[in-house]
């Protein structure tokens, strides 16, 4: 049984483990980056804690030693090397297995899993020979010896006010009392501020001291020594260097469930006493009441000026404050929502769009001028709601991309190749439902590239290429689509080989004339692989055709470019969403079709006289550009009556690199198009990608421009072949 808490634990753990993996992979590049070390530590620490709360003892038992190791690494007691990172990655995997396990039904962890865990822990914390431990402690001592003594003392500055003596205070007794807190290493009695003998009031106090104290007490305790003198002296306690580090560390570790004020934050870590805070605040307010100064100084600045807190600590606290603020902001910004509910919402918004169109139609039909305005107002709102609803499902592609770091790392290691993954454009957003579906095709392409694309380091060097190969994943937005590029600087595709294979398989005729692009396109045909021996990474000859089918199913396109010896570039165009798009409605006879607006470049009137259209050639001269066109009425050819022929229009569409004109009878203009799937029966149909319900309740088909162009060019090629025969 999977109750809610368990679900939450599993989900959070998965996220944390992903963070941990990312951080570990970063560490491979920059081994001692504190942020990444902390990230790994925090991830494992949080999982351990949560597992403890939920009573998943097996996870606690495994994560605890891992956490200890990370703690040592963080504290510099253990160094980071590739072996350790590799081991920690394995630990991450094992933790993931354990987490996965608890989602299952079984009560007890299987022995194999337990054994695997034990083995990892043994590797992680080998029995250290006693000699080694001794050396370690020696090193530690050396470290502390190196520190100059003056750095590690509290510095107390004590300026008594003139009335101190008269108020019955004896500064001397405070200093004597201070000796109980620790050792006074140095004391300086300031005498240069004394008045001259004549002006001296023997009952006034002129004493100032600077004291270096070595003490294990904290600031608040030290301050308590002067508790009764606080009204009659200026007290500043500057913490020792180690204390500063402690503050910094404490600040770093603050979990920050709530947003604290800077002062509170500093008090929390002990860098500031409440009294110090109050006087600083008074100073701040004093400036305010004064009215003469225009600017109120930030508290941090005052504290630094007053030498109450060191600049480093204030800066760190301010930074921490910012992080906490962001975290809180994030926490309030994000709500976990069931994807199904979101789907339902988007479906409902779709219905709303259609209903609104129906209302609009009725209003126009009955010519209700006064209602029209209201309806168009509602239309605007509906459009907004639609955009926002769709935005809810938009996620950045970066997360999907960064998953490939592990794939690239592991696979290239297995293949003895040296490949670096460079990710760009991770902030590009697209519909979550699309993201989920591109993971598999992308994985395949990446693996393919690693396996077939990249040469071994030695081969690369022999070819004058850098030893390390670069695999790039890039994403960008282009006219309502997201473009994903997978580029490698590997060997490139061997077109001769592809051709030979294709001929062998009977995919093409021997000697058939094909352009470079057409040959490359053959790799998406079923049963074609160029690698002579199949490996376990890829190369069983299933794959590229599956990739293409997956992309097709998303109404996307895939293209491949390759240059021998230079590399390969695979470009995928995908629609941003599968739900609602801006459409452009056209009419052919009585039928209506919707073209995705993002693909429409322009509309021009069909100028029959100027263009001398004839039955055989299907292109026009558009401002000097050869523009092939598809006459929809012919193409979808049913017995149209030739009687109705008003002015035809040419809709110029763009799909990827291809441009074409679509000849239609009427232009209806833009339309919010709720995409309805046509159903499984039509899954193989090209040229039509879906349907939408119009306000009238009728269905209009959505044209798949890319598919149409493909069909049209296939048709012309065949015609040509026929002619040449």
């Amino acid at each position: 049984m999977l109750d809610d808490t368990k679900k939450i634990f599993i989900q959070e753990s998965e996220e944390l483990l992903e963070q941990m993996e990312n951080a570990l992979l970063e560490m491979e590049q920059v081994p001692n980056d504190a942020e990444h070390l902390n990230s790994v530590f925090r991830a494992i620490h949080t999982i351990k804690g949560a597992a403890g709360i939920f009573g998943f003892d097996a996870i606690v038992a495994f994560t605890h030693p891992v956490e200890s190791v990370m703690d040592n690494v963080r504290n510099g007691l253990r160094s980071v090397d590739p072996d350790l990172i590799a081991l920690l990655l394995k630990c991450k995997d094992h933790t993931a297995n354990l987490v996965e396990f608890i989602s299952g039904e079984q009560e007890d962890i299987s022995e194999t899993l337990q054994e695997a865990g034990k083995k990892l822990l043994n590797e992680l914390t080998p029995e250290q020979p006693s000699e080694l431990t001794v050396t370690n402690t020696n090193e530690k001592i050396e470290v502390s010896d190196k520190r100059s003594p003056s750095e590690d003392h509290w510095v107390i500055s004590l300026d008594f006010k003139p009335d101190a003596l008269r108020n019955g205070l004896d500064p001397l007794s405070f200093i004597n009392y201070l000796k109980r807190m620790g050792e006074i290493i140095e004391i300086i009695t300031f005498t240069h501020d004394f008045p001259c003998w004549e002006d001296m009031d023997p009952e006034s106090c002129y004493l100032s001291f600077r004291i270096a104290l070595s003490s294990s007490a904290n600031k608040e305790e030290i301050k308590s020594v002067f508790e009764f003198a606080l009204d009659d002296c200026e007290l500043r306690i500057v913490p020792p260097h180690s204390e500063l580090e402690k503050y910094l560390a404490l600040l770093e570790e603050l979990t920050g469930e709530e947003l604290n004020k800077l002062g509170e934050l500093l008090i929390q870590v002990g860098a500031l006493t409440e009294q110090e805070l109050n006087s600083a605040l008074q100073l701040q307010n004093g400036v305010l009441n004064d009215g003469t100064t225009k600017e109120i100084k930030p508290l941090g600045e005052i504290l630094v000026e007053q030498h109450v807190v060191s600049k480093d600590v204030v800066e760190k606290a301010v930074a921490k404050q910012e992080i906490i603020r962001e975290k809180i902001a994030q926490e309030t910004q994000y709500i976990r929502v069931d994807a199904n509910r979101l789907g339902q919402l988007i479906n409902l918004v779709g219905e709303l769009v259609i209903s609104n169109a129906a209302v609009k139609l009725l209003v126009e039909k009955h010519d209700l001028a006064d209602v029209q305005e209201v309806v168009s107002g509602v239309e605007g709102l509906v459009e907004n709601i639609r955009d926002h609803a769709l935005q809810l499902r938009m996620v950045q592609i970066g997360e999907t991309f960064s998953r490939f770091r592990r794939v690239v790392r592991d696979v290239s290691k297995d293949l003895n190749k040296d490949v670096e993954l460079v990710i760009t454009g991770g902030e590009a957003e697209l519909d979550k439902t699309v993201v989920e579906k591109i993971n598999d095709p992308l994985t395949h392409l990446v693996r393919n590239s690693l396996d077939h694309g990249f040469e071994t380091p030695d081969e690369r060097v022999a070819q004058g290429k850098p030893r390390k190969g670069v695999l790039r994943l890039n994403a960008l937005h282009d006219s309502g689509h997201i473009v994903i590029q997978i580029a490698d600087d590997g060997a490139g595709l061997d077109t001769d080989k592809i051709r030979k294979k294709a001929e062998e398989k009977g995919l093409i005729n021997v000697g058939q004339e094909l352009s470079q692009r057409e040959i490359l396109r053959l790799i998406f045909e079923p049963g074609l692989t160029t690698k002579d021996t199949a490996s376990n990474i890829s190369g069983r000859g299933v794959g590229m055709d599956v990739v293409k089918r997956n992309i097709d199913a998303l109404r996307g396109t895939i293209e491949v470019d390759s240059e021998r010896g230079k590399g390969t570039l695979v470009t995928i165009h995908l629609p941003l969403t599968l739900a609602i798009i801006e459409g452009f409605m056209v009419g052919v006879e009585q039928e209506r079709f919707v073209i995705p607006l993002s693909m429409v470049e322009e509309c021009v009137e069909m100028n029959t006289d100027e263009w001398h259209l004839d039955k055989n050639s299907h292109y026009v001269n558009l401002r000097g550009q050869v523009m092939p066109y598809i006459k929809l009425s012919e193409f979808f050819g049913v017995n149209y009556q030739q009687s109705h022929r008003g002015r035809e229009s040419l809709v110029i569409v763009k799909a990827g690199r291809a441009k074409a004109g679509i000849v239609v009878d009427r232009l209806f203009g833009e339309l919010q198009t709720v995409i309805k799937p046509l159903g499984k029966v039509f899954q193989g149909l090209k040229g039509v990608s879906g349907a939408t319900v119009l306000g009238s309740g009728e269905i209009a088909l959505i044209l798949d421009v890319q598919g149409l162009i493909g069909l049209a060019s296939a048709k012309t090629t065949d015609v040509k072949t026929l002619e040449s025969v």
């Binding site: 003596l165 003998w197 023997p202 009952e203």
Partner: protein
């Protein structure tokens, strides 16, 4: 009088034989000022200072500064244990620059 002129083995010096505290500070200042204005060179024994506090220390510091300013020679001698403790606590031994001779019995 809290300050008495003394003579020991032919050497002349002043001896403070009262407490040097906030309670005596005003009076001490007056008396010491009188003494200082009359002589260009003087030694003050602190042997018989029965008590000393911050106010007393202030006076000693100021007197020392004043003497320097006026180009006079002022030496504190025969510091007793209590005075030494205070001077040590406040790290003022160097300031006065007087050789501190601990009485033999202290050892």
């Amino acid at each position: 009088m809290s300050i008495e002129a003394k003579e020991h083995n032919g050497a002349h010096f002043l001896e403070i034989n009262d407490e040097l505290t906030i309670y005596t500070a005003a009076m001490m200042k007056q008396e010491l000022q009188d003494v200082l204005s009359k002589q260009d060179e003087l030694e003050i024994s602190l042997e018989c200072v029965s008590d000393i506090d911050s106010a007393g220390i202030q006076i000693l510091i100021l007197l020392h500064q004043q003497a320097k300013k006026k180009g006079k020679t002022l030496r504190f001698i025969k510091h007793n244990r209590q005075v030494i403790d205070v001077l040590e606590t406040l790290n003022l031994e160097a300031l006065f620059g007087d050789p501190i001779v601990l009485p033999a019995k202290e050892f």
